[in-house]
């Protein structure tokens, strides 16, 4: 049995360390070189090219993203500027409107005051005119009445001067009271 185990060692001191056949070594080299050539000529160039493209694609994507970010920031700044401009404009418009409103109110107030004054003046003028015409009319009537009265007095009795004077005075007072009443009535109502 021992002889069986060590049989391959007979004639050499290397045992399994010596190739059974030189073909092992030669074929081993040829096959490995073949695989090597295939990998070197086809596989590695293909993969490295793809890796370079992939790196480019990733880098390009990052550049695009950066660009988009810059654009977005610009748009945001622009928007903010527009917003603040709009706010300023709105404030300005509001201020203007307030000023304008105040102006309009004061103008209207002045106008109203003026109008009121004018109307009052007009009314007063009219009243004065009416009063004058009434007075003129009354004076005319008073003359007539005085004549009538004088006639009556003369016809009745001219003896008592004092009584006559009293009568005339009373009459005139009555007249004045009547006239006052007449002229006051439309104004008062």
């Amino acid at each position: 049995m021992v002889a069986q185990i060590w049989a391959p060692l007979e004639g050499s001191t290397l045992g399994p360390l010596l190739p059974s056949h030189i073909s092992e070594f030669i074929v081993g080299i040829i096959l490995a070189v073949l695989v090597w050539i295939v990998i070197a000529k086809k596989v590695v160039p293909t993969f490295e090219k793809m890796y370079a493209e992939r790196a480019d694609a990733i880098q390009g994507g990052m550049e695009r993203a950066e660009k988009a970010q810059v654009e977005a920031e610009q748009a945001l700044a622009q928007y903010r500027q527009q917003l603040s401009e709009a706010r300023e404009e709105a404030a300005r418009i509001r201020e203007d409107a307030k000023n304008q409103g105040a102006q309009i109110v004061s103008e209207m107030r002045t106008q109203a005051t003026n109008d009121a004054a004018r109307i009052m003046a007009q009314a007063r003028q009219q009243l004065d005119a009416e009063k004058a015409s009434v007075l003129k009319e009354l004076r005319g009537e008073i003359g007539g009445l005085a004549t009538t009265l004088a006639g009556k007095i003369v016809g009745e009795s001219l003896a008592d001067d004092a009584r006559t004077r009293n009568t005339v005075d009373r009459f005139i007072a009555d007249l004045e009271a009547q006239a006052d009443h007449q002229s006051d009535a439309p104004v008062g109502s």
């Binding site: 060590w6 399994p16 360390l17 190739p19 059974s20 590695v44």
Partner: protein, 270 residues
């Protein structure tokens, strides 16, 4: 052996064709008869050819159509590619890594596939348990790292490799042979032996459990033997999973060390 000569395909089937000397497994279990009337076309050679074809087809298919946005399949391939590219080549070689990336990719995938053949049905043999293939790969690595050194530094490369900085001149007679031995002789041999020995020993352990379990199971009239045989065969599956891990680990180690040797060759000083 005589029997299997008559049935050429028998050599391709795992653990058969050596039934008369299957126990105990030993170096002879790794001897495969020549096929098709030759002495040199045998099972390991055929599976090495199949591994190379698989790899070439795989890589050509993977690089046939690559997109910036990877599909699921491409994502998986990129995972392997990036593992070697970023995890090994770029880390160890710095800016020069692209020049050596194809070689390192070949080393990693070629070793990985051949190692995993040890656990794959039909094959059930890690190709690198035949040391000739390990020598071949180590010699390739040696040519690449020595070549890279000469290409980068010219003859100055020898001085860089043989005379470490700061060594006084009177130590040169001792240092130069030592450095030569270390950098030009021991490195490729250890590369080859490490890979070979791991695969060889791992496969041997699997064979011990499987063949031993089978013999125990077939022993008639001894229940204890039969139970032990079942346990042994069940345990062989655990060993197979361990071998899957070791196969990947050795592929990684071979690649990392090759990259490390290239890196020390093209470094300006060490």
């Amino acid at each position: 052996m005589q029997l299997s000569m008559l049935v050429p395909l028998q050599g391709l089937l795992p653990l058969e064709g050596e039934s008369h000397d299957a126990w105990p497994p030993g170096p002879h279990s790794f001897e495969y008869p020549g096929l098709f009337g030759t002495t040199w076309i045998n099972k390991p050679l055929l599976q090495a050819v199949i591994a190379a074809l698989l790899l070439i087809v795989f890589w050509l298919a993977a690089s046939r159509k690559v997109n910036i946005l990877p599909s699921k399949g491409q994502f998986a391939v990129e995972y392997i590619y990036d593992f070697v590219r970023n995890g090994i080549a770029r880390d160890l070689l710095g800016r020069d890594y692209k020049k050596f990336l194809p070689f390192l990719l070949m080393i990693f995938t070629w070793t990985l596939v051949n190692n995993w053949f040890g656990e794959l049905f039909v094959f059930m043999l890690p190709t690198f348990s035949k040391i000739g293939y390990a020598y071949a790969l180590a010699v390739l690595a040696w040519v690449v790292y020595v070549g890279a050194g000469f290409q980068r530094h010219g003859l100055h490369y020898l001085k860089l490799q043989l005379i470490p900085e700061g060594v006084p001149w009177y130590l040169y007679p001792m240092i130069i042979p030592l450095e030569f031995l270390s950098n030009f002789i021991v490195r490729p041999i250890t590369l080859a032996l490490r890979l070979f020995a791991n695969m060889f020993a791992g496969h041997l352990v699997v064979m011990v459990f499987v063949v031993g379990g089978e013999i125990l199971l077939r022993t008639q009239g001894n229940l204890l033997y039969n139970i032990s045989g079942v346990v042994s065969i069940v345990f062989s599956f655990a060993v197979l999973f361990l071998e899957l891990f070791i196969g990947a680990l050795q592929a990684y180690i071979f690649t990392v060390l090759s990259a490390q040797y290239i890196s020390s060759s093209i470094a300006d000083a060490h």
